[in-house]
């Protein structure tokens, strides 16, 4: 009798314990399910944010993410030369709950290790704009600005402006960004083959506007017979235009700029045209590639997107307006603001 009571007690205790354990296991499983979620999360890190060159990338990425059911996290260092800041950002998102990163690197070499670590942690990475010295493949893809085409576009424009005569300064060669170096080389090669009579002067550059202005002033003073300036970055474009305000030149110098921070620059009589990267399309492509990779669909490892030449004739066209829109909100979620008073 005692034995059977004892057995009953033990059995009851076992039942209670096992029920509690089962409940706990079910709760944990439920939590795990909640944690994982079904939406793909993509971190988009441009060279900087709040700039006309990069906000369109936000637009493109956001629109593509909305269509594909993904979510975009957008952030960047506040300066394009804040390489450490961008590295820290890439490092941080690599350890968070993201499935992919779309990165426009601030520096070709310094971002190799953070990108490699992100790939090792299982993230799909799409590098846009300018490449890293890492071959594409596996989880790494590139959607790049066709710098060779950009150099040729600028060269062709120069050729038509100068009629293949005179001298030109190429400013803003930032060796931190390999694409800019490619841009300069392509331009030089085009001029060498198409307009061998044109004299070329080159100066290195940075993302510091005052520094670029100083460089432009020095170049103009050293070469008073300059006919044109090709500024390969937004800072060197601005630096060149400001320098031209301060320095009296023999004749009017026309400037062709790359990656501008504002289309209003075209109001400056010295500025002839601008070469724009289609970062909106890069952002959209990047999201599509990452979502495809996660769903097991292999996409192109390397995509090159040709930049667009913007002149006073086409600056107000629908294509250019679309290319430069900074309204990053996807349409269904656009907030409506009204000025009440």
């Amino acid at each position: 009798m005692m034995k059977s009571c004892d057995t009953q007690l033990r059995a009851r205790g076992w039942n209670v314990r096992s029920s509690l354990l089962l409940l706990g296991a079910v709760a944990l499983l439920g939590l795990m399910g909640c944690q994982r979620g079904s939406r793909i999360e993509i971190a988009v890190i441009p060279r900087t944010s709040g700039a006309m060159m990069w906000e369109p990338e936000h637009v493109g990425a956001q629109a593509a993410a909305l269509k594909l059911g993904a979510r975009v996290y957008w952030n960047a260092p506040t300066r394009e030369d804040d390489i450490e800041g961008q590295i820290a950002l890439v490092q941080r998102v690599s350890f968070q709950n993201y499935q992919g990163i779309i990165l426009a690197p601030d520096q070709s070499r310094a971002l190799i290790t953070p990108v490699r670590r992100a790939i090792e942690r299982g993230l799909a990475v799409v590098v846009i704009g300018s490449p890293l010295p890492m071959p594409p493949g596996g989880r790494l893809s590139y959607v790049l600005n066709d710098e060779e085409a950009g150099g040729r576009i600028a060269g062709a424009r120069l050729a038509s402006l100068l009629h293949c005569q005179g001298s030109v300064a190429i400013l803003g060669i930032d060796r931190d960004i390999s694409g800019i170096v490619t841009r300069a080389r392509s331009l030089e090669e085009f001029l060498a083959s198409a307009c061998p009579a044109v004299r070329v002067v080159k100066r290195d550059g940075s993302f510091n506007i005052p520094h670029e202005q100083q460089v432009a002033e020095e170049t103009l003073r050293a070469n008073p017979d300059l006919d044109a300036v090709v500024a390969l970055t937004s800072t060197s474009t601005l630096g060149a235009l400001t320098a031209l305000k301060n320095i009296r030149t023999i004749h009017r110098i026309c400037v062709i700029g790359f990656d501008p921070d504002s289309l209003f620059r075209l109001e400056n009589p010295n500025l002839d045209s601008l070469v724009l990267e289609d970062t909106q399309r890069m952002g959209a492509e990047g999201v599509r590639i990452i979502v495809g990779k996660i769903h097991g669909v292999s996409g192109p490892r390397m995509t090159q997107i040709e930049p667009v030449l913007v002149t006073r004739e086409n600056v107000n066209s629908a294509e250019v307006r679309q290319l430069t829109t900074m309204d990053w909100r996807p349409e269904p979620f656009a907030a409506t603001w009204r000025i009440v008073q």
Binding site: T48, H58, G85, N208, P210, D327
Partner: protein
């Protein structure tokens, strides 16, 4: 009794009620949208621990909060995520041109980055002389309005009063000059509005200064008051518009507005590194160009070759990062130079220079004097210095160095920093004995708390922590020991209770049965005629067997009933046992205890009782004594039980068994007691059991016990001979 339980209930019920309700009350208070409001800043008393920075270089200077950095989107935030309807207002001054500075409401999800937060911002922008009101969500959308202040421009280095109010989904921003009655107002309805969040300060591409920050709860009546005030002042409204395309204007400065340098730069500048080589005897003038790396406590300027101290400078307001031209008299020193009586001309505003990362050993050589460097070290001491400074001393392997920082926002950091932390510090390295006091090879003049990063806390393995671990382990061991003994006692008690139960069962069944059988046999004997003598003999024999079995059963029952052991003690139960055994006879029982009576553990007392019981039974059964003596002697850590009789005695042999002696020896061995039986024919028998008692651990005795324990251990260890080297050879 009844009254006290009622009283206890009267006291307990409200207490329980309070305990149940208070967590909810606390939670409700924490979640209140007005907790912490109204708020007024404590900048005037150099306190700002409740503010958190995201980018920028924020410092408390002269009762104001100042951001010297031209970082795009530097933020400083405070308050609660639950603040809903409130207003923030402050006096705001822009430090540069080409940017904006203002206030933030309903902010959340903040990070470093241009628009990396979710919330609303209103600011004055001298790029296009507008008041701007916008919403950030890791992107930016805004509405702007030209200021109607007099003059109609937003000027740097001038105080404006800004107010940003959020009630429901209505946002109102107003800006005015303190000296004027007119103001500029924007009101916006956001259909999909952010409902709550923190408040703060923000600047974009222009540093700023804020003072008199006040945050108050706001209601519809506040909205009505502002709107009617704006209407009375004839503020013109703009037609309603959707957000989106208009945002372009916030980012793109018309080129004409971009600030150009005041004058062309001097072409005859010297590299700063060359100043060291200037003649000492005949001071000469020189002009250098570089970036400002520090403005307080002294101005330092650095170019690609090195840095220089600028003294007695006549200059317009400079900020860290400004590109400047400095002309002054060169005073070279061992490692760098000073420009005395200097004139400073700002060429243009710029970003702060990045720090050069060096080791402490490299910096200790003086090679980086007057240069902005970054170095790592472990914090050794921290102290408040003169002139409202904080002084930190660091150790970096073979080198040590010092860092000095303005107190400003450093108070919160000072309290948080733990000695022994590994830190990375950025600052201007100086070897001037005025800072180093010749105690360290170099000192870092730190610009702000943002230049101090804690890489790792102090090592966990410190003497204090080791002592704490050992103490915890010791307490755990003591607790385990206590629990073990308690559990053992419970086990023994359970066994004793089970025996008790068996004893009662046997008493109620066996004993009654034997008594019944005895009566029946007696009745049969009475009924059998006397001539059946053989049957009478058999019946007598059977009765004798029953009586004997009954006695044995009684004895067994007695043996299974230890409860008396606890209530009467060992001497008491042995005495009672002896009296039961000799009941009805003339045997005298003597029972005595000598020595300092102390508690005997149950296991030992139980076994002593069994041994004593067996010895007493043997004496009564076999020795036929006149007197039985029971003596219990208590020693310091032992107890001796002496049982003696003056009966027949017996001849002792080596192989003496029987009489339950085997059981007695086993019981003695089980408690590590020594059993001794001495007997002589006709002289009686003496049974002695000597058992050791566990030592009593008191506060005073434990060191002695520990010493004895360790000594025993050592003695045992040293008595073991080491094996002979040849012992293991085959």
């Amino acid at each position: 009794m009844k009254r006290s339980s009622v009283g206890r209930r009267v006291f307990l019920v409200p207490l329980l009620g309070l305990l149940l309700v208070s967590p909810f009350a606390v939670l409700e208070y924490q979640r209140s949208p007005h907790r912490g409001l109204p708020y007024h800043d404590s900048f005037a008393t150099d306190r700002a621990e409740e503010w958190k920075a995201f980018g920028g270089t924020w410092e408390l200077i002269n009762g104001t909060m100042r951001n010297d950095s031209d970082e795009r989107g530097a933020k400083l935030l405070t308050g609660s995520m639950r603040w809903r309807d409130y207003s923030i207002e402050a006096d705001v001054m822009l430090l540069g041109t080409g940017g904006d500075a203002g206030l933030v409401v309903r902010s959340s999800d903040e990070e470093e980055g241009v628009d990396s937060y979710t919330g609303y911002y209103a600011g004055l922008r001298n790029l296009d002389d507008t008041l701007t009101l916008g919403r950030a969500g890791h992107g930016w959308m805004e509405v702007t309005k030209p200021v109607v202040l007099n003059p109609g421009k937003v000027l740097a280095n001038r105080w404006y009063h800004l107010k940003l109010l959020a009630v429901g989904c209505q946002l109102i921003a107003t800006a005015d000059l303190p000296s004027q009655t007119s103001n500029t107002t924007i009101t916006v309805n956001d259909a999909d509005c952010i409902s709550s969040g923190r408040a703060g300060l923000r600047s974009y591409e222009s540093g700023g200064v804020w003072r008199n920050v006040v945050i108050r709860p706001a209601t519809e009546s506040d909205v009505a008051a502002i709107l009617s005030s704006a209407h009375l002042q004839g503020d013109q409204s703009s037609p309603s518009q959707n957000l989106g395309v208009t945002s372009l204007s916030s980012f793109h400065a018309p080129e004409a507005d971009y600030p150009a340098p005041g004058l062309p730069s001097n072409p005859n500048t010297q590299p700063i590194s060359s100043l060291k080589s200037f003649p000492v005897a005949r001071p000469e003038e020189a002009t250098v160009r570089g970036t400002v790396i520090l403005t307080a406590p002294a101005m330092y300027v650095q170019d690609s070759g090195g840095g220089v101290l600028v003294e007695n400078s006549a200059h317009e307001a400079v900020r860290v990062g400004d590109e400047v031209e400095v002309t002054g008299t060169v005073r070279p020193s061992n490692f760098s130079a000073t420009l005395a009586g200097a004139t400073v001309r700002v060429l243009w505003g710029g970003s702060p220079m990045p720090a050069l990362s060096v080791t402490a050993s490299q910096a200790a050589t003086g090679a980086f004097d007057a240069t902005f460097i970054e170095v790592e070290g472990r914090l050794q001491t921290k102290a408040y210095g003169n002139e409202d400074t904080l002084i930190f001393d660091f150790d970096s392997g073979l080198q040590s160095f010092r860092a000095i920082m303005k107190r400003g926002r450093g108070d919160a950091l000072y309290d948080k920093l733990k000695l022994g932390s590994l830190m990375r510090i950025r600052g201007v390295s100086v070897v001037d004995p005025a800072y180093t006091e010749n105690n360290v090879p170099f000192t870092l003049l730190v610009r702000s708390t943002d230049d101090v990063v804690v890489l790792a806390g102090p090592p966990w393995w410190s003497a204090g922590h080791l002592v704490a671990i050992l103490t915890c382990l010791l307490l755990l061991a003591l607790l385990s020991n206590y629990v073990y003994h308690r559990v053992n006692n419970w086990r023994l008690r359970a066994i004793a209770e089970e025996r008790e139960h068996l004893a009662f069962e046997m008493h109620d069944t066996l004993a009654q049965g034997f008594a019944g059988i005895g009566f029946q046999l007696e009745a049969i004997r009475t009924g059998v005629p006397e001539e059946f003598s053989g049957m009478h003999r058999q019946i007598d024999f059977a009765s004798e067997l029953v009586r004997h079995s009954h006695a044995e059963a009684r004895r067994t029952v007695d043996m299974l009933r230890p409860q008396q052991l606890e209530s009467q003690g060992l001497l008491g139960v042995l005495s009672a046992c002896a009296h039961r055994l000799v009941a009805g006879g003339s045997v005298a029982i003597e029972a005595k205890a000598v020595g300092d009576v102390q508690p005997i553990p149950l296991r030992i007392s139980d076994n002593l009782y069994r041994i004593g019981q067996e010895a007493l039974a043997n004496a009564v059964r076999h020795a036929h004594p006149r007197t039985l003596s029971i003596l219990l002697e208590y020693g310091k850590n032992s107890v001796r039980l002496n049982l003696s009789d003056d009966g027949a005695g017996f001849v002792q042999r080596e192989d003496l068994g029987g009489f339950g002696l085997l059981g007695m020896r086993k019981r003695a061995a089980s408690i590590s007691a020594h059993l001794d039986i001495v007997s002589q024919l006709g002289q009686g028998t003496l049974v002695t059991v000597m058992a050791a008692l566990p030592p009593r651990i008191t506060f005073l005795s434990w060191p002695q016990l520990l010493y004895k324990f360790l000594r025993e251990k050592y003695r045992n260890a040293t008595t073991i001979e080491p094996p002979h080297p040849g012992a293991y050879r085959g």
